[in-house]
Amino acid sequence: MTDWKKIAPLEDIPRLGSRVVEIEDGSIAVFRASDDQVFAVRDACPHKNGPLSQGIVAGHTVTCPLHNWKIDLESGEALGPDEGCTNTYAAKVEDGIVYVQL
């Protein structure tokens, strides 16, 4: 079963940035967009497993630091002509605290 897990206060994640959360089988990246919406995706690019958490965020997308694929944070899908998808997790902010469903 999946649960809402408490991650951290929203202000611990920089706007247009992310934090890495370590889980049992790898890492997830939790992003905070400029509109303060949060997104959680597996921290591995569908291309060659690049750490998406390290990319540049714009709108609801992140650009992978290794070879510049652009990933949609809502769906985890690669945008433009690139094809591939990374796992996403539900994420929300309540009373200034970020939760992710794991």
Partner: protein
């Protein structure tokens, strides 16, 4: 209530302006369009292929009626505007319809010039301008047999070719002794005439028309020398005249066209004008590329952004006659002081000529092989200094020796499995296939779909060549201004200028002022803006880590497995046993899997886990090391050689001078990476002549070299000057560096920058103008006060801790 915009002239320039306007400010106006022709906007250029039977009318419609509806635009076709009432601000159409305006846009194009000889108004005498003319020509081809085209320019030849393909017997009558004299020099024009004659066209050169013969329809022509020729159809293609009747009647100031300023405004501030009806800085243009640039500028002002300026255009020409390759641009006939470079191969029917002055291309004419036309045109427009590759320039761009591609000849001759992009393993076949199946038209499309030229970029020329040979002579539009990225219309230069002139001091201000199209920018523009702001306002701007590529945010090079590398600075490559001991200990303590001596004379520690970075930096910092910025668009290394202290040939203390230079410049953020070197004698062991700034010591002083580059495209430096003292070396270095920091485009290394702006310009500012040099040096030092704070030490002490510590799940 919305303001009202009326467009008079439903043609290429006017509608393009509306398209640009809708991109910038979709809700600004209620728009009404009047067009004299009964069609929505179509691609006038393509009338030639329509006449030649290569395209249909449907295929050349650019904006169908749906487009006008979808954008809420009211369109009146077949109803020309007959009067502009400037006092009451309304236009009156032939049908009697009156529409008020707050802003008016005139784009009435031009009219074919009809030579005023007797009989020129007879039926069967037409121009070549619109769909009606093409219909008339096709109709004439059904009944008549003999056509005469008056005018051996671009339009005339395209008309003649089309009529001939429709089965007519065509004679071209031309006043001058060579064809297309406004675009071609004599050799190219002769080659063109020969090729067209081989296709079956006939020419009467140096022939002046005196009279059109016929009673109620044209039957022939009589020339000034009394000779006569039969004709069932006469096409006059002797030039165009700006269509400015309406504007003149309304009292707007006109000369050869409606006169506009650099914002495309007429003498009435409410009235803008674009296209062939316009005269700007004394020039009238008759090709679409400049008109589209005008459209962009007019749209910018109609959208009330008020920053774009049109400063005139250089144009280039291609002839759209299938099977004939011809290209011309700029000042192709040499004048005093010009030099010409010519390549002529009669057997292959190839001719290329470049007109050059001060090592810059002023004009180009090509016949038979036009593959490099776009490249020459780009060099011309950008004013590139060609001295570095002048001796091989006529052989084309592919001959320029990009690593790995040097020997490749014609792309057309390459096999499908030839690897074009070495970084991403993309073959010619992959590219051609993507272009054809996905309908790609631009370099950016090809990059996105195939990844070719998307990494190091050294194959860009080849990819462009494949693109142009695959898409063919199709209608391509090449703006001379390249926007920074898809988030904006503005070029790097415009952004740099706006930041300085309008005192924009943070990214939001730039986005707002320049009306960025995306709320957050993107991974391309944000790092550029962050740099420009930092370079312009070093003491005021707060660096934005989220707008930096990860390497610069984490102060290490990200590796393929997500770990980082650490390169401590070793000033001038010098080190002591205790330095090396400290590095060795750090490596053992943090289990660094690999160490390597770099090409930059220092040591790289690979494979460090991100969480360990601050701890490791603390130890390094305690041992006296600062960051080597091996990861940044920043000052990288100063390579030095042994020099006078030890080397039997050394003339000066190259090592010591290298250390001083590194102490002066470390920490500085740059448009791209920036490398220095100092060699102790002309043997040049430190390879100073392929560095951004290189010093070669000689017995009598120091030679200063700039704009060198190893890497993707090797470029040897240019000699800036020779100086006598170390102090001068530091001052010139600081001044040059600052000039580059202030003026280059983000991600433009010194090598392409120097080529773009030219050595002469740099010398002017740094050698000839002592005051300017000192001021630049001063500004560099001010920036360095802020920049020379070691980022590693700061992070070891807790700055940006969140960057390095993963979050734990608390419940």
């Amino acid at each position: 209530m919305k303001e009202r915009l009326v467009l008079v002239g439903n043609g290429m320039a006017g509608v393009r302006t509306l398209e640009e306007l809708l991109k910038l400010a979709p809700q600004e106006y209620e728009i009404t369009v009047f067009g004299a022709e009964p069609y929505p906007n179509y691609n006038r250029i393509m009338l030639s292929p329509v006449l030649a039977g290569e395209k249909s009318i449907d295929e050349i419609i650019l904006n169908d009626r749906r487009w006008y509806e979808d954008n809420g635009i009211t369109l009146h076709t077949g109803d020309p505007v007959v009067e502009i009432d400037r006092v009451n601000r309304k236009v009156i159409a032939q049908s009697g319809l009156e529409v008020p305006y707050d802003r008016l846009l005139l784009a009435t194009g031009s009219n074919p010039f009809i030579i005023p000889v007797p009989g020129s108004d007879l039926p069967g005498v037409i121009g070549f301008r619109d769909i009606a003319d093409v219909d008339a020509m096709l109709e004439a081809a059904k009944t008549g047999n003999k056509a005469v085209v008056i005018g051996g320019g671009l339009l005339g030849l395209e008309a003649a070719n089309g009529l001939q393909l429709n089965g007519m017997d065509v004679t071209v009558v031309h006043l001058m002794d060579i064809l297309m004299e406004r675009q071609l020099d004599r050799p190219a024009a002769e080659m063109l005439r020969k090729s067209l004659e081989e296709k079956g066209l006939k020419f009467l050169m140096e022939t002046q028309t005196a009279e059109v013969l016929g009673e109620d329809h044209v039957t022939g022509l009589r020339f000034a020398d009394g000779e006569e020729i039969e004709a069932d159809l006469v096409v006059m293609a002797v030039g165009i005249r700006a269509n400015m009747d309406l504007a003149q009647k309304a009292g707007l100031y006109c000369e050869r066209g409606v006169v506009v300023n650099d914002t495309m405004q007429t003498y009435d501030p409410r009235i803008y004008a674009v296209g062939e009806c316009v005269q700007h800085r004394g020039e009238c243009y008759g090709l679409v590329a400049p008109l589209f640039e005008q459209a962009k500028v007019a749209a910018n002002h109609l959208a009330k952004m008020g920053i774009a300026r049109y400063e005139g255009s250089v144009t280039s020409t291609k002839l759209k006659v299938t099977g004939i390759d011809l290209f011309s641009a700029g000042e192709f006939n040499e004048e005093d002081g010009d030099e010409t470079l010519v390549l002529q191969d009669p057997a292959q029917n190839v001719y290329k000529k470049l007109v050059v002055r001060d090592n810059r291309i002023r004009g180009a004419v090509m016949f038979g092989d036009t593959m490099d036309g776009t490249w020459y045109f780009q060099l011309l427009r950008e004013g590139t200094d060609i001295s570095g590759f002048r001796s091989s320039i006529l052989f084309g761009q592919h001959d320029l020796g990009d690593a790995g591609h040097g020997d490749e000849t014609r792309v057309a001759a390459l096999s499908d499995d030839a690897e074009i992009c070495g970084c991403n393993g993309v073959t010619k076949g992959d590219i051609v296939n993507a272009i054809q199946t996905k309908g790609l038209f631009t370099l950016d499309d090809v990059r996105a779909h195939t990844k070719a030229s998307a990494s190091c970029g050294s194959c860009t020329g080849l990819v462009e060549a494949i693109l142009s040979s695959t898409v063919g002579e199709g209608y391509e539009e090449k703006p001379s201004k390249k926007p920074v990225c898809a988030c904006t219309e503005h070029s790097h230069d415009e952004v740099i200028r706006a930041i300085a002139e309008h005192e924009l001091k943070d990214m939001r201000a730039v986005f707002d002022f320049l009306e960025w199209k995306t709320p957050d920018g993107c991974a391309t523009c944000r790092p550029a803006l962050n740099y420009y702001l930092l370079a312009r306002w070093p003491e005021e701007y707060h660096d934005d880590p989220q707008s930096r590529f990860i390497n610069e945010r984490a102060h290490g090079n990200i590796q393929k497995d997500g770990t980082y590398s650490v390169v401590p600075r070793m000033f001038g490559g010098l080190c002591t046993p205790s330095d090396l001991r400290a590095i060795a200990e750090v490596c053992e303590k943090y289990n660094v899997p690999e160490m390597k001596v770099t090409g930059g004379q220092r040591i790289d520690l690979f494979g460090v886990k991100k969480e360990d970075l601050p701890l490791m930096w603390k130890d390094l910092s305690d041992a006296g090391f600062v960051s080597g910025h091996a990861y940044g668009k920043a000052m990288r290394t100063v390579k030095t050689c042994a020099g006078k202290k030890w080397c039997r040939f050394g003339t000066q203390d190259s090592t010591g001078l290298g250390v001083q230079l590194e102490e002066l410049t470390w920490g500085s953020w740059m448009p791209h990476k920036f490398k220095l070197a100092v060699s102790g004698c002309p043997r040049n062991c430190a390879e100073a002549t392929i560095k951004d700034f290189g010093v070669v010591c000689v017995d009598s002083g120091y030679e200063l070299h700039i704009g060198g580059n190893g890497g993707i495209k090797v470029r040897v430096t240019d000699l800036l000057c020779k100086v006598d003292t170390e102090e001068e070396v530091l001052e010139y270095c600081g001044a040059f560096t600052q000039m580059y920091r202030e003026e280059a485009h983000y991600l433009e290394r010194t090598a392409p920058w120097v080529e773009r702006v030219g050595l002469a310009y740099i010398k002017e500012r740094i050698l000839d103008d002592e005051e300017e040099r000192k001021a630049l040096y001063e500004r560099f030092k001010i920036g360095q006060k802020v920049a020379q704070v070691d980022p590693w030490k700061a992070r070891a002490e807790g700055e940006a801790a969140h960057e390095f510590v993963p979050l734990k799940i608390s419940a």
